[in-house]
Amino acid sequence: MRDRITIRLYRGDGVSGEERDYEVTTFPGMVVLDAIHQIQGTQDSTVACRWNCKAAKCGSCSAEINGRPRLMCKSRVEDYCDEAGVIRVHPLKAFPVIRDLVTDVSWNYDKARQIPPLTVDKNVPRPFRLQQIDVDRIQEFRKCIECFLCQDVCHVIRDHNRKDGYFGPRFMVKIAALEMHPLDGIDRRRQLRNEAGVGFCNITKCCEEVCPEHIKITDNAIIPLKERVADDYFDPVRALLRLVTGAKPGKRSPHAHE
């Protein structure tokens, strides 16, 4: 590995900014976040970035490394240097820049607030009895560390800025974890179809590729959710039933999906 590399870092705020080069000294096992820390500690203490655990468990240090969304704490410098020894580090593109690598991700927290929490009928016996095989799939979704890399890479959000119509992959995963919880008593299909906008996803699977927790976001969460919504709204037999009974879509008994 090279002894010295160059971090080509975005410096600026929401109004204006530029790339600036910083030379850093490498050491074995160095990750991009170490390089940013070295710049802060020895060259420019005003370089703004978020980080917490430095072990890929908290999802704070999201950035775009050579144009791809990544966790800086999990990206080894030797894997990202070009022939000239340069690594480009920029903030997430899908969210407004506050300063340098720090972006305003508050939209995500607004969406999270709109999702009703797990609601278990009071007649379900306590303590809960759940089989491991029934919780395996929702445990996969609950591995999410909320780094928002999937939100950043999603075309609907990144390229079309449809934050008004689609909650994004992160919250499809969150709703899937609730919708597929064996004891959840809320029907979530109406929300999925309407304000959460599951229909916006066109299954390009970019979110899966960037997920640091390797959650199969599209295959295991979004596609099954799309199917549930489609079954309910567009199945001709159910549509006929609705016509006859006057029932509205999205209503069903709490355990109908088991």
């Binding site: 050491f27 203490s45 370089v47 917490n52 890929a56 468990k57 991700v105 797990l118 609950r142």
Partner: protein, 598 residues
Amino acid sequence: MEDYATIDHDVLIIGAGGAGLRAAISVCEAGLSCGVVCKSLLGKAHTVMAEGGAAAALGNMGEPDNWKVHFRDTMLGGQYLNNPRMVEIFAKEAPERVLELEEYGAVFDRTPDGLIAQRPFGGHTYRRLNHVGDRTGLELIRTLQDKAVSLGPSIYMETTLTRLLHSGDRVVGAFGYHRSTGEFVAFRARAVVLATGGWGRMYKFTSNSWESTGDGAGMAYAAGAELIDMEMVQFHPTGMLWPPGVRGILVTEAVRGEGGILRNSRGERFMFNPEYMPRHYAGKFAESEEEAHRWLEDKANNRRPPELLPRDVVSRAIYREVLAGRGSEHGGAYLDVTHRGADYIKRKLPSMYEQFHALGDIDITRQPMEVYPTIHYTMGGVRVEPETGASTVPGLFAAGETAAGVHGANRLGGNSLTDILVFGKRAGDGAVAYAAGVEHGALSREEIAEEQSVLLAPLSGGEGENPYELSRELQEAMQAGAMIARDEPGLTACLEKVRELKERATSVRVPGDRRYNPGWHTARDIRFSLDLSEAIVLSALERRESRGAQWRLDYPEKSEELGRVNFVVRCENGRAMLTSRPVPEPSPELAAVLEEAS
């Protein structure tokens, strides 16, 4: 004085890890106005780093576990410096707090009967750690976050509070700034709960994040609260060691809980060395490798492997192996779990597999890991009432790692997640009850003006100290003088250095403005770390014995007399004052529980 916004809440909670969020749930459920302030984004607090599980005697594994066994294990692990009433509340309320998480949405691993699965851990007699693979902390914080958010508290993210405000003796609010803009903000509250976690960041090799600078305990100390047991800093035996970029990152104890074996450079399973077995644990652990191996499949008829001794014991053993020239390639120990098979490892320890794979170029299903003790947890902190979490200052409450009393001289793994649940709720309830009986106090303009000048001084231009350099020197000093093996000359030199740094910290200067400026943030945080470092070293000097996490090379034995006191550090006229208090006596009922054979 610069203008600032003033925000009113019935209860102000500082910190949004597990303890702060659990307190917020209590405050919201009581119908009070609740403000939650955190330095990071919501859900990023240090709780996410907890891996192994939350200890609670649910008894789901067919073993005769109950609160009394958990109580005894915790007291023994803490070497009887714990507050017995606090441990009683802890052990009794733990099951209810864990089960409540399922109601909030947590999805634990299951037993074949469909109950919460529990795993063995260091110092716990029975399988007691309720877990989700090796990411239990993430499950806890996300669950509490979702529940709290659904109850509608006001959440102020990326906001740092640096000063508690008084009206007379009472704490009536706090002052600080929003990180993104640097704008000042004051909060007025009938009661304030500190839940700001620990302060392991003052050491060089640590599993702690940048946030762990001890602001909460530091603010409480400045506000006149008593800090106890500050010498008790936990060294987790297994931090990552190589490459240097990852040094100190935690390797969960669940690796040993799932059968992980420690070996030295000669391939010896050194935890079987009788020299490392403390007298008070003799006979409770497997005495041959065969028995330890049989335990993996048959826990009822075999004793636990000695790798599952408490953290202080295992940390010292690794330290001594390295000192004796039997260290691993890079000066640590080998931790090997390959005998459990790739499928099992990937299912039970998925984030360890990923962590070593991505950061250390090691496949833990095929190769041993290299580990060395890393700073992990601070047992000491704000002295609180067991029932309510009330500190010695009226209106000020503390919970979780910021508070002290449950863990004594050494915390058992799995007890911290339970601590934040049990005492987060207790402190929330305590603050609610207190708030009902008092009016809002007036915020002191003098205190606010004083704090503004402290905060603004580093930006006043000219030459001065670099906060990152001070931080680095502090970490070097604490690592050298107040680490796992301590003695008087080392501690004295460390104290001198800390006091020199305290002096230099008053003339820190940083470039830039107030908008998201990490140098500026560090300039204030370092002062909390320095105050707490001084408290650690003063207490460690005074405890002339070896007990739990405190290992004095010059006083290698336990002292019966010192085993009956907690050391107390308080700030008087700007100076650290060290005194002691008798360790609270157990009630007759608890004394009887301690007497029962486990």
